[in-house]
């Protein structure tokens, strides 16, 4: 048995030792299956990468040569067939319209996500809104365009604002769903601490929950946390981080309830607090108030 184990590559485990020929056959089949599957996965990577690389290189090869300062800033030619000086207005228009859409969709989306995660939670209305936000994510862009056409353009005419409206409608559900995902990652201990200090729910959300979530919202990458995972064996070390994604960042962040100290909470009213401070060499007064030590034990 021990000799057999020596022959085996580490990832394939012996199933309690393949002593009989049948066991060995099974083992071989499983290993072939695994190899076949690995081949399939690798093949799909190749299949996916080839066209994507082809498209990017084609666009760069064909279009790269015309990119210049003039192209980026000068006017669009009036005759579409003439070789124009540039694409300036189109580029500016893209930026303005996207910016306007963002200004509309992001605050509304964040507020809606706050409702879903902080107020509604699992009640029926919140469930309906959540479902409908998902449905809205799937609404094709052309339908959204027709919608804005019927509701806005028919009345007020074509405008950049109409375009921004359509874009905002497309963005809204995406902002809602991804923000909600991130709000869910904010440790509940943070909310509890703030509420226990007597802060209202609104203040808890504005000064505690949202600031903690903003890095995630702006980059829209909650799963970045998961990317830190390693292969099996390595993760035990990482597991703590993975389970408390936001906690891990807290020491670098301003203490969420900064400014609340005017209520006198920080002035030693709590008999349990000094111990925490004593253990904590680095952070300033605010951090001692709601620093990493009390929070990290929560989740």
């Amino acid at each position: 048995m021990s000799t057999r184990e020596h022959h085996q590559p580490p990832p394939t485990h012996t199933v309690f030792g393949a002593r009989t020929a049948e066991d060995a056959k099974l083992l071989g089949r499983r290993r072939r299956m695994n190899g076949f599957f690995t081949g399939l996965v690798s093949a799909s990577v190749a299949i996916a990468v080839v066209p994507l690389v082809a498209i990017i290189s084609y666009a760069l090869r064909k279009g790269g040569s015309v990119i210049s300062v003039d192209f980026l800033t000068k006017d669009v030619p009036i005759l579409s067939r003439s070789v124009g000086p540039g694409m300036g207005p189109a580029i500016v228009g893209t930026l303005v319209i996207t910016g306007a859409a963002t200004l509309m969709a992001v605050p509304l989306g964040i507020m809606a996500a706050v409702y879903l995660n902080e107020y509604g939670k699992k009640n029926r209305l919140a469930t309906v809104i959540r479902t409908m936000a998902d449905v809205m994510t799937g609404v094709p862009s052309i339908v959204m365009g027709l919608f804005i056409y019927t509701i806005w353009v028919l009345r007020y005419g074509l405008s950049g604002f109409a375009g921004a409206l359509a874009l905002a409608c497309l963005m809204l559900p995406i902002v809602i769903r991804s923000t909600e995902e991130i709000l869910r990652l904010v440790p509940s201990g943070l909310r509890e601490a703030s509420l226990a200090l007597g802060a209202s729910r609104a203040r808890t959300i504005m000064t505690g929950v949202l600031p903690a979530a903003i890095p995630g919202i702006t980059s829209d990458r909650p799963p970045a946390v998961h990317d830190r995972r390693g292969p099996p064996g390595q993760h035990a070390r990482l597991q703590r981080r993975q389970h408390r994604p936001l906690d891990a960042d807290f020491p670098q962040r301003p203490a969420p309830l900064r400014g609340r100290s005017r209520t006198g909470v920080g002035s030693g009213a709590d008999p349990h607090r000094p111990r925490g401070v004593a253990h904590d060499p680095g952070p300033g007064r605010d951090q001692a108030l709601l620093g990493p030590a009390p929070l990290s034990g929560k989740v």
Binding site: A48, I55, A112, G138, I142, T150, A269
Partner: protein, 333 residues
């Protein structure tokens, strides 16, 4: 004042009679209620917008609906000049193209997502993730142009080859007849390329939510990587994967420019996948500019049909997944 209150206030704010109002309570209960109201209103906005989409587009499409009646979705005669607006051929085209796209894109996307989450060396994972997200952000017109300028002519040669090979073979011969660069198949392939990054990106996130201990358990029992994925990763992430596929389907059905460029714009209900056809979104994009009156109403009507189809598909997917969820009760999602 601070030492006494209960550690967590219950979710529903109860009247805090015992606690005096003061600076501690920030903006007072009124502000709190106001904030809640604003958040609620933002949430309700989703329902309002969805309702408005259905209402206002249907209203504008009414002339065409009244003109055609049920024929709008059961007739395949679309002839704006003669006032015939039967959209069946476009509905068929949309379904066929989306099906081709999903069949091609989903296996590849799952493979790619598995590669990134389970197979690739750790240090490649973050760059690979960024690359996929980047690709998902490429505007569709770039894909469409590539499809029409580069891919179409190339693939047309392959089509011709296949067509002559399978000529006379019962089923395949029919599928591959009248080969042309601009066709259902080309549109399907371009769409598959377009939705691969988004489906990959979401499936990757879904795979990442599989609890470590379940995978550990599989490894610990001596499973091979394939067995671990089949036994631990797939069952747990089935729900999320359906969601990913549905999102891909939504994109595929609604994708406009790229499809409009490569599908060939000829309304036909045919099994010739390598021949030209047309799809709803593409028709709207191609004809909206010069349409007026009933024609325009009919195009908006296509939008209504498309909207209803995507909503139905989405709701159906939710039903399926929530049922699967209940069967798998105990998981976190």
């Amino acid at each position: 004042m601070i030492a006494t209150p209960s550690t967590t206030r219950p979710p529903e704010a109860e009247p805090r009679t015992g606690v005096p109002e003061g600076p501690l309570h920030g903006g007072s209960r009124l502000a709190d209620q106001l904030f809640r109201g604003v958040c609620l209103a933002s949430g309700l906005l989703v329902l309002v917008v969805l309702g408005l989409i259905l209402f206002s587009t249907t209203k504008e499409a009414m002339p065409a609906f009244r003109h055609e009646g049920l024929g709008f979705i059961t007739s395949k005669n679309w002839n704006p000049a003669d006032g015939h607006f039967g959209a069946l051929a476009f509905i068929y085209g949309t379904l066929v193209v989306s099906a081709i796209a999903l069949l091609l894109a989903v296996p590849v996307s799952l493979g790619l997502a598995l590669f990134i989450t389970e197979l690739a060396p750790t240090r490649f994972r973050t760059p690979a993730t960024y690359l996929i997200d980047l690709l998902a952000a490429i505007p569709s017109v770039v894909y469409g142009l590539w499809g029409i300028l580069v891919f179409g002519p190339e693939i047309a040669r392959l089509y011709t080859h296949l067509s002559t090979t399978f000529d006379g073979v019962p089923l395949l011969g029919n599928l591959t007849a009248v080969p042309q660069g601009r066709s259902f198949m080309t549109a399907g392939i371009i769409l598959a390329i377009m939705i691969t990054p988004i489906v990959t990106s979401i499936s990757k996130e879904v795979f990442a939510t599989v609890p470590r201990d379940q995978k550990e358990a599989a490894w610990g029992l001596g499973a091979t990587r394939f067995e671990m994925i089949r036994g631990a990763v797939f069952p747990y992430s089935r729900t999320g994967l359906v969601g990913a596929v549905m999102l891909g389907l939504g994109r595929a059905m609604g994708e406009t420019i790229a499809v409009a460029l490569v599908i060939g714009s000829s309304p036909a209900i045919t099994g010739h996948l390598f021949g030209p056809g047309d799809a709803m979104a593409a028709v709207v994009a191609n004809q909206f500019g010069e349409a007026s009156g009933t024609h325009r109403a009919a195009l908006i009507g296509l939008g209504v049909v498309l909207f209803v189809m995507t909503v139905l598909v989405n709701l159906l997917a939710r039903r399926v997944t929530s049922r699967a969820d209940r069967r798998l009760a105990g998981g976190k999602r």
